[in-house]
């Protein structure tokens, strides 16, 4: 398409130049004035080509997204069964093939322990993040004086958000696993993920707190309420939907993170779910199992990995849907 446009551009230009004294062009002196509008036409054609380029570039991203989702879904088709969700993994590729389920000595292969592991990990991360993230945001928005220390804290948070996730993994390995001697445990994994998403949660909670109108704070102070009473009874209830949306979206990032929990020492394969009552026991999570499967040379494991990815993406989708529902409900009220 763009080739055609190019050719016509050239033709127009050539015609104009060769018939310089064209009476219709009103350019009798041939002094370069563009009376027949050819250069304007050329500009418009250039504009059309540029628009085409911009549009094509936009489509690249969308096509890539569609290709990625289609690839995963097609590879997983027929492999994602109820048994896959409810059975522990297996080292033998054949155990994952649904048509083999009937005559297996060991039972079908699945990812049940890892699904439970991920859910435990996210619940613990959510609890830590809720307190630390909202607390820090309240300090920065409601208490912090406009000092250089405050500015330093905020610049530091912005920088932390850009630290690669694998570096947080090293931090978790050295501080939680080794120095605090929690071992490669659920609590070490959850604390590492908490530190990883904390910067995003703080910034988003700050925005929600900032959106609460000052008139509400002033009204509360006017009734004689103290600062803490105002925050607790007026500011926080108003900001909660925004804060929850931010936390859920951040947790949906944490649940797919592989590198940090890998460095902390998450198990690559687990046959029983981690024990929530023993937070220092070993742990695993869905992305670790997917990584393990994706590395396997057997063709079957490609399908198994794809099935695992579909489970992970479905959980992500659900979390995002909840976040959007909360946001929409909140938007309608205000």
């Amino acid at each position: 398409m763009s080739t055609n446009t190019d050719t016509s551009t050239t033709t127009t230009t050539t015609t104009t130049t060769s018939t310089g004294g064209d009476p219709d062009g009103f350019d009798p002196d041939g002094n370069g004035f563009d009376f027949d509008g050819s250069s304007i036409k050329r500009k418009h054609q250039l504009g059309t080509i540029f628009l085409g380029l911009c549009f094509a570039a936009t489509m690249v991203g969308i096509v890539a997204l569609v290709a990625l989702l289609a690839d995963v879904l097609l590879e997983a088709r027929g492999w994602l069964t109820w048994e896959f969700l409810t059975y522990p993994p297996s080292q033998i590729a054949e155990n994952y093939v649904p048509s083999n389920y009937g005559d297996l000595a060991t039972g079908p292969g699945g990812m049940y322990p890892m699904i439970i592991g991920s859910i435990y990990l996210i619940i613990m991360t959510a609890i830590f993040t809720l307190f630390l993230g909202v607390g820090a945001a309240i300090y920065l928005e409601e208490y912090a004086p406009d000092s250089s220390l405050t500015r330093f804290i905020e610049a530091n948070i912005a920088n932390l958000a850009g630290v690669p996730s694998i570096v947080y993994g090293l931090l978790g390995l050295a501080v939680f696993v080794r120095a605090m001697q929690t071992g490669a445990s659920l609590i070490a994994g959850a604390l590492t993920l908490t530190l990883l998403i904390l910067p995003i949660v703080i910034v988003q909670s700050q925005e929600s707190l900032r959106a609460v109108p000052d008139s509400m704070r002033q009204a509360s102070y006017g009734t004689g309420a103290t600062k803490w009473q105002t925050i607790r009874n007026v500011v926080l209830p108003e900001a909660v939907p925004g804060i929850m949306t931010g936390i859920i979206l951040s947790l949906s990032r944490a649940i797919g993170e592989t590198a940090p929990i890998l460095m902390v020492g998450a198990a690559t394969t687990m046959f029983t779910p981690p024990d929530l009552t023993d937070p220092t026991g070993s742990f695993g999570a869905m992305p670790m199992q997917i990584y393990e499967w994706a590395k396997m040379p057997e063709a079957e494991f490609q399908h198994v990995a794809a099935a695992g990815i579909v489970v992970l993406l479905t959980i992500l989708l659900l979390m995002n849907a909840v976040a959007i529902l909360i946001r929409n409900k909140y938007d309608k009220r205000s």
């Binding site: 504009g47 628009l51 570039a57 630290v163 990032r253 590198a259 990815i309 992970l312």
Partner: protein, 307 residues
């Protein structure tokens, strides 16, 4: 930061009960965790790297071209092959994401109707929300087979597939931040150019683009920083063979992929492999830290202020 009226209330209302004062300290403690995190990262990395450099000389680490930490008789710790691997991925992904992301931003900001923008922008941002391990799988099961058909010498693990998936992953970073910058250019500038007879193409490329340059450059730097630190996608796609090669279809190893290799290998504490994690981690942290500071500096230094 907050506006003036809050400052009025900031003084005086905070002196009531013990609970009120306690609340202040607790919240400050939460904010202080972020400072402690940065300090801990630096301490942990420097501490581990110091142990490493007591065995391996700085010269060997930064100028050596052979990375074979597992060789039993004569291990070699030249970081350049790993840095080269990271560079290949970073440059390759930037070559993909920067043109595509910028053109996407121009389309969304200048050409698309607000309805199209409201649909397309969040759709593209889904790309940034997909776990990186999924991109690794996508590279192995989709990109590499296509590359192998185009160029039969392509290995199962290759730098090109890694660069492509990382490039796709960072498109939304470039496009969203650039689009925000372009949208904040006031319409009066556009209208002035139209009044002079400029076409939409000229307005987009000669008015809006220069006017939002600081935001766009900051987006590039952030995206590149993200590509440097990207881990799981490149580990799965590009492989684990540290070498300096110009061939994009050959297997390479990035700094992050080496860290994953050691991380899954259960290196014992105090071993040179365990210590090398922190030396590489420190190098990685320094690189991304510089990029992030550069991005902030570009934004504050070259920001055009519009009322």
């Amino acid at each position: 930061m907050s506006t003036e009226p809050i400052d009025l209330s900031r003084n005086g209302n905070d002196v009531g009960t013990i609970g009120d004062r306690l609340a202040r300290y607790i919240f400050f403690g939460c904010a202080a965790v972020t400072i402690a995190t940065t300090l801990a990262i630096v301490l942990v990395l420097v501490n581990g790297a110091t142990d490493f450099f007591s065995t391996v000389s700085l010269t060997e680490f930064f100028t050596g071209t052979d990375w074979s930490p597992r060789a039993a008789d004569n291990p070699s710790f030249g970081v350049l092959p790993l840095v080269w691997g990271t560079l290949m991925i970073t440059v390759g992904s930037a070559l993909i994401a920067i043109p595509i992301g910028t053109l996407t931003a121009i389309y969304l900001s200048e050409y698309a109707s607000s309805r199209v923008r409201r649909v397309v922008k969040p759709t593209l941002e889904i790309l940034a929300g997909i776990p990186t391990i999924v991109y690794g799988f996508f590279a192995l099961s989709f990109i590499t087979p296509i590359l192998q058909q185009i160029y039969p010498g392509t290995g199962t693990f290759n730098a090109a597939a890694g660069a492509i998936v990382v490039g796709v992953m960072i498109i939304p970073m470039v496009s969203s931040i650039s689009e925000d910058a372009m949208s904040s250019v006031p319409d009066s500038l556009r209208n002035a150019a139209y009044g002079l007879g400029a076409t939409k193409f000229e307005v987009s490329t000669q008015v809006v683009l220069p006017a939002s340059l600081s935001g766009i450059l900051a987006a590039y730097v952030l995206a590149i920083s993200r590509a440097i630190g990207e881990t799981m996608a490149v580990t799965l796609a590009a492989g684990a063979l540290a070498q300096v090669t110009m061939n994009p279809f050959a297997e390479i190893q990035t700094m992050t992929a080496y860290m994953v290799e050691i991380g899954t290998g259960d290196a014992s504490v105090g071993s040179i492999g365990y210590q090398s994690l922190f030396a590489i981690g420190l190098t990685l942290f320094a690189m991304t830290f510089l990029m992030n500071v550069l991005s902030m500096w570009i934004r504050s230094r070259y920001r055009e202020e519009y009322q």
